[in-house]
Amino acid sequence: MRIDRVLAGVLVAMLPCLSPAQQDTLKEIDRYRQLLQESNPAELYEARGEELWKTRRGPKNASLERCDLGLGPGVVKGAYVRLPRHFGDTDRVQDAESRLVTCMVTLQGFTLEEAKRNPFSGTGVPMITTDPFSGVGQRSVMTDLIAWIASQSRGMTIAPPMSHPKERLAYQAGERLFYYRAGPYDFGCVTCHGEEGKRIRLQNLPKMTNAKDAQRAFGTWPGYRVSEGELRSMQWRMWECVRQMRFPELEFASDASIALITYLAKQAEGGTFDAPAIKR
C-alpha cells in the first residue's frame, strides 16, 4: 500500500516549516500532533490486522479467530488493556505480542522461530532482516495484528491483572530491570525516565514512576511514527530504548521485555488507552 508512505513523506516534509524559537517550536509540535491525530495512517495497519486475524495461514491453514488473548478464545475487545497477564496453557505472563506468537504456533502451526521472526512479510528488501518489526519494504504481520488488537481497546481503562503470583513477580522483576544500570554508558531506563519534565534534545521524556506520564506513554503505544513512516509496537519501544542504552539486543517477546511492559502497564493503571496513536 502506497498511501501511508506518501502521507508520511508529506508530513515529514512539513517539519522544517516549524518556528525556530524553541518555546514556539514545542507548542507547534503539540499542535502538529493534534492535527495528525485526525488522519492517522495507523488505520491502514489496523484494517490489515483485522483481515489477517481472519485469514487462514500457516501449516495448519487456520485463522487466529480462536486465539485467547486473556478474555477467552476469540475475544479481542478490551483484551489489550488487560495485558500482560498470566496464561494457564503456557504458565507464563505474556503481553499482547508474545501471546500472538503462542497463537501463531498453536493454532496456525508455525514454529516458534517463524512466529517470532518476520517471515510473513511481502516483497522488497528488508532493512534489517532479523528484526521482528516492519521496515522499509518489509511488512510485519505481527505489527498489523497488534495495531488492530490494540485498536479494539481504544477508550478503555488500562487495567493489567495483578492477582496471580507470576504477574506480581513479572512486575517486581520489571521494576528492578527499570533501575538496572549497565553497559559502557552506565544507562538504565531510569536515566531518562526517572525525573519529571526532562528532555533529550527536544523530545519530552515521560517519568515512568509518575502515573500521569506513564498513562500517557503506555496509552499511546502502538503508535505510528511519522519520522519512520512505520507503526511501532510496545515491544519495539522496549527494543529500541535498550539499543540506545547501549545494551545488547533485547530479544523480541523475551521474559525481560514482558517484565518491563508489565511494570509499565501497572504504572499506567487507571489511564485511558488511546492507541494506536500518532507520534513524531
Binding site: P20, A21, Q22, T25, R168, L169, Q172, A173, E175, R176, L177, Y179, Y180, R181, A182, G183, P184, Y185, D186, F187, G188, V190, T191, C192, G194, E195, G197, K198, R199, I200, R201, L202, Q203, L205, V242, R243, Q244, R246, F247, P248, E249, L250, E251, S254, D255, A256, S257, A259
Partner: protein, 210 residues
Amino acid sequence: MQPKMILALALSGICVAGCATRPSDSEAERAVAEIAVAEMIEASFKTRGQAAIDRLKQDDAQALCSRHSGELPKGASEGIEKAQQATIRYPSSGKLMGDWREGERIAQSGAGKQFTDAPTRPAGGSCYNCHQISKQELSFGTIGPSLYQFGRQRGASEAIQKYTYGKIYNSEAFTACSNMPRFGYNGVLTEEQITHLVALLLDPDSPVNK
C-alpha cells in the same frame, strides 16, 4: 549460573542493601524477584554487533546505584567517588585544553557503542542530548544542567581544567550514580576527544563563553 548460586547472590545483595525501598514486597518476594532478574539478564538479551552480552555485567558502582535507585545509604557515595577518582587518567602531554571547534563536533554527535554503530567509527559525546551548551544550538536536552557560560563563570585555571577533564572522564568521581556516562573510564571517548570538550567549555573563544 546455578540457581543456588543465584539465590546466594540475591540474598547477599539484600543483606548489603538493607532494602529501604519498596516496602510492599516481603523479603521472600524480593529474593525471588532478584533470581528472576538474574535469569532474565542471562536469557533475554543477545550479543549483536559490538554490543556483547557481557555489557550487562555490572561493576560495583553500577550494581550499587541500581540497587538503591540512585539514593545511596550514608557513606556509600563517598566510597564510590573515592574509588572512581582513582581511575582518572590525564593525558601524558599534560595538555588538557584542545580545540573547541572539534569539541563542538563531538558534543553534537550522539553516535557510538550502539549495536547499529560501526565499531570503527569514533563515538561522539552526545552532550547536547542532555545539556544546553552553546547559545546557537536550540535543540538541547535537559537531563543535565545548562553548560552555557561554563568557562565564563569559572575561568580556565589549571585547577578548573583538571576538574572539567576529570568530570567528563569519570563523572562518578564527583557525583556517585550520576546520570552522565563515564566517558573516559568506559573507553567511549579518547583522552584527546575529552581535551576538545574541555576547550569547548573553557576556551574564552568558544561560543559557550560568548
